[in-house]
Structures are given as structure tokens and as C-alpha cells.
């Protein structure tokens, strides 16, 4: 093996030792939902924000709370409501009677892990304030700009049902989330385990097993994971197929895609694939990493046409067709 990758593999083995401890700690509280836990770690390792979508009661909030409990970081939960104001989120200037000055009062966004619960229940101006902070990783209060802590990760949840009185996130803002996860129901065995664990009267708790320094160190390793030219070309082909499907022999998708994925999709597909390879203790990315993470990176970046909606064709159907058509290197 290439000496650099050999050394990288060794380093990955050392730096990824926390992964097992972290998943085990999360497993104390969360039953099943391996996919969600795996993707939360991908987001944590690749510095990308995550949007979790699922019906109520699927442990979305619990998973994020448990993750934060397993990491020695500052955690804030913000319940998004229709009367929430941007200042409630980022902070504001308050008058100091003693000195007669206005001093900044930092909001709950100044934390490492933010849980934006039911993000679609707050009006656009609050969503906008959060999403701006997510992108810029800094916040301006009054005349001063304050950088946000590192790591800074936003995990937002939203409910796909009960659209009454909600403010759906605009496409441009959804694009800022690296991954959009669709959370499903547990199976029978897991459901039984949930009953046994959660009805004892004492809720299980996760203990912190890693600190922010370890995450930052692991991120450095993740960013050095080798991505071959063939993999880069494969990613480009996948993203371009969402924009010009007919150039890839996907004529049936012509007329179904209003807008294809932005270059952010290529960037996130590469970084998320690296994190996926890291979790598999590999110093290089394979097409398997791209395919595994692809749906979560692309599903919220394709806007389907009215024709597609009328035919009940979803963005996921389109992505699946693209994956089935584009040749793996």
C-alpha cells in the first residue's frame, strides 16, 4: 500500500478509537436507529449540519441529546415556536443601568451542539438568522461580530406531517444542511427493547466519553483521507446527472427535475464520504462510501417539477435512478 495511506490507516485506527465508545454510550439510551447514529457521527466528523425528518416519537430529539451528553461540549436545545425572535436565538444588546452602556447578551446559539427542535415552526426571520450563523459560523450583535465556538454543529428536526401553521424551510436554506436524514420506525424487536428500557421508571443516561479536542483532531484526519480522481469523477457524474440527466442516458428524468444539485452537493458528497470511510477505518474513499451517503446528501438538493409531483415521483426516486445508471468506477 502507498506509504502515506498506510500511515494514514494507522492514524485512523488510533484516532477512531472513540467511535466505538461513543456508539456504545449512545446505545445505552437509543435502541436501534443505527443509521441515524451513524449519520450523526458523519456530520460531527465532517463539520456539517444535519436536518432530521421523521414523524413524532422516533427518538430524533433524544438521539441528539444523547450525542451531546456523550461529548463534553456545551449543548443548547432551542424549541422553535411561531413567536420566537432572532434575538432569542443569537442574542441582543441590553442596557446596563450601572454603566449606562449597552452590553451584548449572547444567545443560546453560542454553544457547540445546537438542537433546533421543530425548525419549521418558527417564522422565516428566525430560520434565516440560524441558517446565516450556520453558514458564516459567526454572529453579529449590535456592531460587533462574534465567532461561534468550534465544534459548532446544528442538528435540526422537523416533522413531515401537520403542515398547518408551519414555515417550511426555503430550498436555498435547506441546501445549507449537509445531510437530510429520514428517520423510520423501529422494527418489532427494537420496539420490544424500547418498552423494556423506557418503562422501568428510570431513564437511561449517557456519560461523556470524548471532548471537543478529540473531535477536532479526528476532523483533521478525516480531511486527509485520500480521494482518488476516479472517485471525484464519479461524484461529479452523479451531481451533473441531476442537472443534465439526458447527457447520461437518463432521458426519462428529463422534465422531472426543475433544478439539479448545486456545487455544495459535490463538496458535501466528498467530505461526507471521507467521514464515512473514517468510520469504516479506511484511509481512502471507495464508491461504496459515496453510494451509502449519497441519498442523504442529495435528497434535499433536487427540486422536482410539477409533472413529477403529479406523477408522485420524489427526489429520492430520481436519485435512485441516477445511482442505478451511473457506472461505478
Amino acid at each position: 500500500m502507498n506509504e502515506e495511506i498506510k500511515a494514514l490507516n494507522e492514524r485512523i485506527k488510533e484516532e477512531s478509537s472513540f467511535v466505538e465508545a461513543l456508539t456504545a454510550e449512545m446505545g445505552k439510551v437509543i435502541v436501534g436507529q443505527k443509521y441515524m447514529v451513524d449519520r450523526l457521527l458523519v456530520g460531527l466528523l465532517s463539520n456539517g449540519h444535519i436536518l432530521l425528518e421523521g414523524v413524532p416519537g422516533l427518538a430524533k430529539t433524544l438521539a441528539v441529546k444523547t450525542l451531546s451528553a456523550a461529548i463534553r461540549t456545551k449543548f443548547q436545545r432551542i424549541q422553535f415556536t411561531p413567536d420566537l425572535l432572532p434575538a432569542d436565538l443569537i442574542g441582543t444588546m441590553v442596557y446596563n443601568q450601572k454603566t449606562g452602556d449597552f452590553i451584548p447578551k449572547k444567545g443560546p446559539i453560542f454553544a457547540n451542539l445546537i438542537l433546533a427542535d421543530e425548525i419549521n415552526r418558527a417564522p422565516a426571520k428566525v430560520q434565516s438568522a440560524l441558517l446565516e450563523a450556520m453558514q458564516e459560523r459567526q454572529v453579529t450583535i449590535g456592531e460587533d461580530t462574534y465567532p461561534l465556538d468550534d465544534p459548532f454543529l446544528v442538528l435540526a428536526t422537523q416533522n413531515p406531517i401537520e403542515q398547518e401553521g408551519t414555515y417550511p424551510l426555503p430550498e436555498a436554506q435547506v441546501d445549507r444542511f449537509m445531510l437530510k436524514l429520514k428517520i423510520g420506525y423501529p422494527n418489532k424487536k427494537e420496539e420490544r427493547e424500547i418498552i423494556e428500557r423506557m418503562t422501568k421508571g428510570e431513564d437511561p443516561q449517557a456519560d461523556p466519553v470524548i471532548g471537543p479536542e478529540e473531535i477536532i483532531r479526528a476532523r483533521e484526519v478525516v480531511s486527509s483521507i485520500y480521494v482518488d480522481e476516479k472517485i471525484k469523477n464519479y461524484i461529479i457524474d452523479l451531481v451533473f446527472a441531476t442537472r443534465n440527466p439526458e447527457s447520461y442516458g437518463l432521458d426519462e428524468l428529463k422534465g422531472l427535475i426543475e433544478y439539479g444539485s448545486s456545487p455544495r452537493a459535490s463538496i458535501y458528497l466528498t467530505t461526507a464520504s471521507r467521514a464515512h470511510a473514517f468510520l469504516r477505518r479506511r484511509g481512502y474513499v471507495t464508491p461504496e462510501d459515496v453510494k451509502s451517503i449519497g441519498m442523504d446528501v442529495l435528497r434535499h438538493r433536487i427540486i422536482v417539477t410539477y409533472e413529477a409531483e403529479a406523477e408522485e415521483i420524489t427526489a429520492e426516486d430520481i436519485i435512485q435512478k441516477i445511482f442505478n445508471k451511473i457506472e461505478v468506477p
Binding site: 500500500m1 502507498n2 495511506i5 422494527n187 418489532k188 485520500y226 482518488d228 476516479k230 472517485i231 484511509g283 481512502y284 474513499v285 471507495t286 464508491p287 461504496e288 453510494k291 408522485e312 415521483i313 420524489t314 429520492e316 426516486d317 435512485q320 435512478k321 445511482f323 442505478n324 445508471k325 451511473i326 457506472e327 461505478v328 468506477p329
Partner: protein
């Protein structure tokens, strides 16, 4: 003459019926799982073979149902001379459809009535833990005498004779005109394994160029194409992981799956990790692939 015309008429009627019934399918359905059994020719002649297709399809999660696969169908006046299994997976409107198809080649034993008995299958829906069973109806097959032994189509025989004679005269005329002797095809069909071994030999010759990435890519491609042709798994758009999963789903021998996995993993290492193989590595991957194909050829 009138009698011959009547016989010809009845031949066409029977022929049309055969064509109509050719894709005869018998269904049995329970929930989202369906069993379809059909033969391609319900009136074969004694020297013809019949293809029996047992198609099991269901939608949703592949792990949702636990099946007890149908046993070999019971045949009357027919003998099973070959069988194969294929798996297929398609997605439509976000729903995955799974198809497992058991193909049997049946050879008629003697002229007269025959048939295929009902095919039955049981499965458990793991979500509801309910057990279901599906059963198809029996299929009747009539074995006709082979054309050589038949008594009834002299007009056809005469027509055929004239067509053959006419064709032979025409080709002789053409050959004389061109002045070249007729060239008969001499190539014998070669088996899949042999073909892939020949391609592998070509790859070894091309190794001198020093492009080891291309060398490994070619070996991986030969192996993927072989699996695609042999097991009916589309390998162009899938990863090594997908191929291995599909082979396991087809219940291919675990030893064979492991060998394929090792070869493809080695190829992936060179293709995607810029691994620089030694001379021994180059020999070893080639020999491993050759060994695998030769073993299958046996």
C-alpha cells in the same frame, strides 16, 4: 386436396392456440407477495423442450418476509433436465420490488398427456409474524409427436422440400456467379469461463505497459462481467459491497463469494487507494482470478 387444405387449416388453428397459450401464467397472490407459474409452450413436440418459470415477487423491505422456497415441481410425462435461479431488484416510486425466478427446463418423455403439478410456497411476514401459503394451479401439457415421426403434414413436408431445394439452387447460382466456394462457420461456441480466461490472458500480455491501475481495473472488469453473465447481477452500476450482497442473496457458495470479495477488494485497493503493487502482487491477483475461473469451468 380439400382434405389437405382442411388439415393445413387445423394446423394453423392449433398453432395460434399454442402462440396464445405460450405465455400462460397462473397466479397465486397473498398480500404483496405473488407467485406466478407458467410454461412457454403447453403443446411441445417430443423433441422440443419446455421452459417452466416459477416467479416469486414481492415489494418493500427484502428482509420483511421469510420464505420457504418452492420445492422442485412434480412433473408428469416430463423430466427436469436443467434449472437456474435469478434475482432481480427494481425500484418504482420509492418502492423496491424483488423478484426471484426459478427456471426449469423440461424434456417430454413420451407422446400424450403430461403436466406440471401445483407449486406451493409458504412464507412468514416478519412484521406481523403471520404465516401465509401460496399455491398455483396445475398446468396441463400435451406432448405432440415429433415432426419426423408425425403422419399428418405431407403438404408441409413437400413445401419444405421445395424451399430447401430452391434455396440450395439459389446459393449454388450465387456461388458460381462470385466464383468463391461457400464458407461454412467453423467456430465452435466456447463456454463463458473459457472466454473470460482468454480475456484474462490478453490482460497479462498488456501488463508490460506498466500501468498497474489499468491492469487491476481490467481484471476487476473481467470478473464483474463474468458474474453479471453467470448470475444475472448488473455489475456496472454497483459497488463491490453490492455485488457480494447480491451473490449472498442468491445463496452462492460462501467459498466462492469470499474469493470474489478478496479479488475485488484487492482491485479496489489499487484503484482507489493508489496502492503500488509489487511484482508478486501483480502475479498473485492474476493467478487468483485465473484459479477462480478455472474452478468454475470444471
Amino acid at each position: 386436396m380439400a382434405r389437405q387444405v382442411a388439415k393445413l387449416g387445423s394446423f394453423f388453428i392449433v398453432g395460434s392456440l399454442v402462440l396464445l397459450l405460450g405465455n400462460l401464467s397462473l397466479y397465486a397472490q397473498e398480500g404483496k407477495v405473488s407467485l406466478e407459474v407458467g410454461v412457454d409452450n403447453p403443446r411441445p413436440t417430443l423433441n422440443e423442450k419446455v421452459r417452466l418459470r416459477v416467479k416469486l415477487s414481492w415489494e418493500g423491505d427484502s428482509q420483511r418476509y421469510e420464505f420457504s422456497w418452492p420445492e422442485e415441481p412434480k412433473c408428469r410425462n416430463l423430466q427436469i433436465v436443467g434449472n437456474s435461479v435469478t434475482n432481480q431488484q427494481t425500484a418504482k416510486a420509492g418502492v423496491t420490488n424483488w423478484v426471484k425466478e426459478f427456471d426449469y427446463i423440461l424434456k417430454p418423455i413420451e407422446e400424450g398427456e403430461g403436466g406440471v403439478g401445483p407449486v406451493s410456497l409458504t412464507y412468514t411476514d416478519l412484521q406481523t409474524e403471520k404465516e401465509y401459503s401460496l399455491k398455483s394451479r396445475a398446468i396441463g401439457i400435451e406432448v405432440l409427436p415429433s415432426p419426423k415421426e408425425g403422419k399428418g403434414t405431407p403438404l408441409l413436408f413437400i413445401l419444405g422440400f421445395f424451399v430447401v431445394i430452391g434455396g440450395a439452387s439459389l446459393s449454388a447460382l450465387l456461388v458460381r456467379k462470385r466464383g468463391k466456394p461457400p464458407q461454412e462457420p467453423t467456430e465452435e461456441p466456447i463456454c463463458l469461463e473459457r472466454r473470460k480466461l482468454q480475456e484474462l490472458e490478453e490482460v497479462r500480455r498488456g501488463r508490460i505497459s506498466g500501468d498497474f491501475k489499468a491492469y487491476y481495473s481490467s481484471i476487476a472488469q473481467i470478473l464483474r462481467e463474468y458474474i453479471e453473465e453467470k448470475y444475472g447481477i448488473g455489475t456496472k452500476e454497483v459497488t463491490t459491497y453490492d455485488i457480494i450482497n447480491s451473490l449472498r442473496a442468491q445463496e452462492v457458495d460462501e467459498g466462492e463469494v469470499k474469493t470474489v470479495e478478496e479479488i475485488l477488494a484487492q482491485c479496489d485497493l489499487v484503484k482507489f487507494a493508489s496502492h503500488q503493487p509489487s511484482e508478486e502482487d501483480l502475479d498473485s491477483i492474476w493467478l487468483a482470478t485465473k484459479g477462480y475461473l478455472e474452478k468454475r469451468e470444471e
